[in-house]
């Protein structure tokens, strides 16, 4: 009975198209919270999420909505991560829903992640309700976006709603449409329990809180349950839902979305995608295949000051409690000291982790050039998996190298096609396909919008690629990518030697024909950023024993305070103290002192 009055849905959108604002408005208009209680964007709780306009961790809010048919419906709004790095989590969220509200910005139209998310929702057979948001903005062009939606996604204009999540315009009809179009959940409360974990988070008091969707059966407090994928047993300490604060309940049953407190110590033990069932006479088949999302991007994270290693370790452990997809293992570098080789779902994930470590834990970090996982077959037949460029074998020992490739999709106004294709070609991309989106915008100043599809090594997408996409399209282009597997590659390790000492953190893996160009850029940059020392410092880039580029930093000749003015010794001493402090902040490469900024500048080089 309750099941027929339940609707489980999510909102999917490209970054900044207004997903969180719409969630806030739904919460307000259903009377779940008053406007002044909402603050800004209830669904994004981390500062970082708000600043970046993305949602990192999914959550669920239960709304009660009295529809025009006089019945009160239970609407479970499940929030989804909005970025491609978290596509595994997005897809788990989608499994928990029967419908999705697809939000498209009236000023921007369809973007790369609009498409990616829509296709994902379609794969999961979700009922999609397209809405055009921000119609209150002066630059909005709902007509052309309607046309784009029709031609690209196949929805007729009469099926698309026009709204302003900010002002609330058009949102009440959307609530009606959610009730009317999205089917109630299937499933049977009398069957053995099967619930899907679509998110989890660590709470210092209650242990891991698992967010789940009950498909069959029911869960009550104090039930003993089992996670089928990981074979973990748990006690249900609490069961409830969010409105949007946690509300303990007596039970959750088939069709419901809510949470359980498990008392587990780490989200590792309770991963997204797992199926929960009862210990006794539980289900035999999990809801979906379950796997760990594999880290795709790797980087070394080191404290600037060696004595901060312990703090860094504690900070990473803490982050890992809530972010099971962050992998880490201790690593040591002759130059950078002790740190961690961390694995991330993607570049954004890396950025988020780095920023959280610096902001929430006040750490000063050196992060090495991000790289990918290489699969190497040595001439001896031995198989290696390399995530740290420094461990790359000598060229003569390598039989075969394989690296991950992605399919990348870029949506751009046509006037930037040339610049973007050039970038994609430079980035070792292989052209696959061009698609024109809609007809309506062809008269626009920047031309019709086009989707470019390329395949390229993931390696080439790291560092500056995304910034380049943005800058070469004046910010108009958007991109999305997915992994398509490993392919054979021809690559070498480029090492950098400062004063004849190899700097492991600067090593990078590149195609041999780029060695000279990249090496030259790196030594030139190092010459610029390393201050002159008391001796001449040669800087060289090398492939194996072959030097491909060299610059020398000549010895410093003059550093003297001339005048001892009127006996002001104190001021002189202060200047020397400042100089001494400056030296302390340097990293040493052998006898060469390098400011931390120099590392960052080199790591920033594409």
């Amino acid at each position: 009975m309750q099941q027929a009055l339940t609707r489980n849905f999510c909102i999917i959108a490209h970054i900044d198209h207004g997903k969180s604002t719409l969630a806030d408005r739904l919460i307000e208009l259903t009377g779940t919270l008053r406007r002044e209680e909402i603050g800004e964007q209830v669904m994004d709780s981390m500062d970082l999420e708000r600043e970046r306009g993305i949602t990192i961790k999914a959550k669920a809010v239960r709304l009660h909505y009295k529809a025009s048919d006089g019945k009160t419906y239970r609407l479970n709004l499940v929030d989804t991560p909005g970025h491609v790095d978290f596509s595994y989590e997005v897809s788990r969220t989608l499994v928990a829903c029967e419908g999705a509200v697809l939000v498209i910005d009236a000023t921007q139209g369809i973007q790369a992640q609009t498409l990616a998310n829509t296709y994902l929702a379609m794969e999961h057979n979700l009922e999609i309700i397209p809405v055009i948001n921000k119609i209150d903005l002066p630059g909005s062009e709902p007509e052309s976006v309607l046309e784009e939606i029709r031609s690209v996604l196949g929805y007729q204009p009469q099926d698309v709603l026009l709204i302003s999540a900010k002002t609330g315009q058009g949102v009440p009809p959307l609530l009606e449409e959610i009730v009317r179009r999205i089917p109630p959940p299937k499933g049977d409360a009398q069957q053995p329990l099967r619930a899907l974990i679509f998110d989890s988070r660590y709470d210092a008091y209650k242990g891991v809180i698992a967010y789940l969707r009950i498909v069959d059966g029911r869960i009550s407090k104090e039930d003993r349950l089992r996670l089928m994928g990981q074979d973990t047993e748990i006690d249900v300490l609490e069961v409830g839902y969010f409105a949007p604060v946690p509300c303990p309940a007596t039970e959750l049953s088939a069709g419901d979305v809510g949470y359980i407190a498990t008392g587990l110590k780490s989200v590792e033990e309770c991963r997204v995608g797992d199926t929960v069932t009862s210990i006794y006479s539980g289900a035999t088949e999990p809801l979906i295949g379950y796997h760990h999302p594999k880290p795709m991007v790797f980087a070394g994270i080191y404290p600037t000051q060696a004595e901060d290693y312990k703090d860094l370790r504690e900070a990473i452990e803490k982050l890992n409690l809530n972010d099971a997809s962050l992998s880490y293992e201790p690593e040591s570098s002759p130059i950078l000291g002790y740190g961690f080789r961390c694995g991330f779902l993607g570049l954004l994930h890396l950025d988020i982790v780095r920023e959280r470590l610096e902001r929430e834990f006040y750490l000063s970090l050196v992060v090495t050039v991000p790289g990918v996982r290489f699969s190497i077959t040595k001439t001896s037949g031995q198989q290696l998996t390399i995530t740290n460029p420094d461990e790359f074998p000598e060229p003569t020992e390598i039989e075969k190298i394989e690296e991950p490739w992605v399919k990348i999709s870029v949506i751009t106004p046509s006037s930037f096609i040339g610049a973007l294709m050039e970038l994609l070609n430079e980035s070792e991309g292989i052209y696959k396909h061009t698609e024109y989106l809609g007809q309506y915008r062809s008269s626009g100043e920047l031309g019709q919008r086009v989707r470019l599809e390329y395949e390229m090594p993931l390696r080439c997408m790291l560092t500056t690629f995304y910034d380049q996409i943005k800058s070469r399209s004046r910010g108009y282009a958007s991109m999305d990518y997915e992994l398509i597997g490993f392919r054979e590659a021809r690559l070498v390790k480029l090492s950098v030697l400062v004063n004849d000492m190899a700097v492991d953190a600067f090593s990078r893996i590149i195609p041999p024909e780029k060695a000279h160009e990249v090496g030259k850029a790196m030594v030139a940059k190092l010459k610029e950023v390393i201050p002159r020392q008391l001796f001449k410092v040669p800087i060289q880039a090398a492939v194996g024993s072959r030097i491909v580029a060299r610059e020398d930093i000549s010895a410093k000749r003059k550093d003297v305070l001339a005048k001892c003015y009127g006996g002001d010794i104190t001021r002189k001493r202060k200047l020397l103290e400042k100089q001494k402090e400056g030296k302390k902040k340097m990293k040493s490469i052998g006898r060469v002192e390098v400011p931390k900024e120099a590392f960052l500048d080199i790591l920033k080089l594409g």
């Binding site: 008391l534 550093d559 003297v560 001892c564 104190t570 200047l575 020397l576």
Partner: protein, 378 residues
Amino acid sequence: MTHTIALYIHVPFCRRKCPYCSFVSYDYREADITLYLSALKNELIRRAGGECIRSIYFGGGTPSLLSVKYIGDLISAISSLSTVEEAAEITIEANPGTINRVYLTAIRELGVNRLSLGVQSMNNKELTLLGRIHTGEDAKEAVRFARGSGFDNLSLDLIYGLPGQTLSDWRHSLDEAIAMEPEHLSLYALTLEADTPMWRAIKEGSLPDIDPDLSAEMYELAEDLLAAHNYGHYEISNWARQGQECRHNLTYWRNLPYLGVGVAAHSCLDGHRLANTKSLDKYMDGFFGKVSPVLELDEEINPELELAETVILGLRLCAGIDIDDIRGRFGIDILLHYHQQVEELAGYGLLEHADGYLKLTRRGRLLSNEVFWRFLPE
């Protein structure tokens, strides 16, 4: 026991502020000189008494803006409060554009026996860039006045490493300065403090940046040239004929006590480093009894810091540090105490140890900051 000190008197007035200068000096305040003089005397009464004075140094600013009468008043005030040694060195800094033979003769008779002329350059183009009010000809004339007035201890200041200055420009100034046969020469590399007009001009690109390697070459040229003309290099920036080293400044470098009076003047007395307020108005208020004199700094120097300062200052002297002298004063062997620093710096060729002295090498003098900071206590 009466102790011996050096006395510094700061005269914070200038006809015009130079665009590279960050010293405490006021332009367009010459009308305040009379009041300032009374304040100076009040400060002397409060702070001096009974010491033996080895040297007096009128520094600035432009001390030669003080009239003969005021200089006479100050010297007699000092003599009535303390014992000025018979052979005391009494120096006045002078701007070549502000002096004449009558003035110099008069102050020489008052006992001023050393004249330090702020020549800065013998190229008029550079003097204009430096915003000086005199020319190279004025400098030569000032030297003639000084000799004619009986000054037999004359020092010239020159500045090198100016924006756009070439090695031959610098050689010209040096040659001209040597031709004037001063007893003493101070050569300063232009060091621009942030926010001086010249610093801003370089930042904005309207003046070329200073090339530190070229400045180093200028310094080395001066070392060679002055050695060839029989000037002894006795401190990083100072050269003198044998026996005519500046006694006043040697007090600083030997880390011995001194009293400084006047605006922004620094003192080192009884294990403290002290500094007066930099504000002319506050200073004058303070010494007219309205409010207490304003000390801007009063820092106790602990023994470890005193040792470090003694080493850092002492290494400025080309003779270096007398290891026995340090042992007598601090009871330590600096070669052991600073073993690590000495080893490292000797390895870089910046420091050497010979004949009981620890001293900078020729290269070390130009890189002395790299030497000095290593001796600072943790």
